[in-house]
């Protein structure tokens, strides 16, 4: 169980590499999106590990929050050039 969570943390570190070194702003946004979904996976595995079902409620809320955040970022990205 701990091994699984460590593998997912490794994924999050790979995303973090892309966030630090991404050449354009769009790369960083993609990495943030992927990192959000991986954190949902980590939360679900922790719910199984600690036997706490309400952590899965947290996972559902995290999914919706990450989705709304990505939509807002994409709106910002698309709008800026249109207004010029």
């Amino acid at each position: 169980m701990i091994v699984m969570i460590s593998f997912l943390a490794l994924c999050a570190f790979l995303c973090f590499y892309r966030i630090l070194l991404g050449p354009t702003i769009s790369d960083r946004m993609v990495a943030v999106d992927i990192m959000g979904i991986i954190f949902v996976g980590i939360t679900a595995l922790m719910a199984v590990l600690f036997k706490l079902p309400y952590l899965l409620d947290l996972a559902i809320a995290l999914t919706i929050l990450s989705f709304i955040g990505v939509l807002a970022l994409a709106k910002y990205l698309g709008k800026r050039r249109l207004d010029d």
Partner: protein, 116 residues
């Protein structure tokens, strides 16, 4: 028996997650990175949720995991589509090995591919 299948599905999901993040590192431009990482990470996390559902059955934990997996399956492609459209409009160019850019040619006036 069914618990073993659940653990195997969780392991497969984690393998796909790692492959998606490797794609995020290895591919050359935003669009290819978005393709690889969105597909692999969506199926990987959906697999983790299905595995938890198979292990726990119809208890509160299993049903919540199933609902969470369905939410991920619905929201992830929409977010990727919005990011892709945003970065095209923002003006990020395609990789230099790309073949054609019909969207740029018809909507934005001229193909947007990096110079070789």
């Amino acid at each position: 028996m069914i618990e073993t299948i659940g653990w195997i599905i969780i392991w497969i999901g984690i393998a796909f997650d790692i492959l998606g993040c490797l794609g995020l590192i290895r591919f050359p431009d935003v669009y290819n990175r978005l393709q690889a990482s969105t597909k692999c990470v969506t199926l990987g996390t959906f697999g983790i949720m299905i595995g938890i559902f198979l292990i726990h059955g119809f208890t509160p934990m299993g049903i919540k995991a199933l609902i969470c997996g369905l939410f991920i399956l619905l929201t992830s492609p929409v977010g990727a589509h919005a990011l892709m459209r945003g970065s095209i409009i923002f003006g990020i160019k395609l990789w230099k090995g790309s073949v054609l850019d019909r969207y740029g040619k018809e909507k934005l006036g001229g193909e947007r591919i990096e110079d070789r």
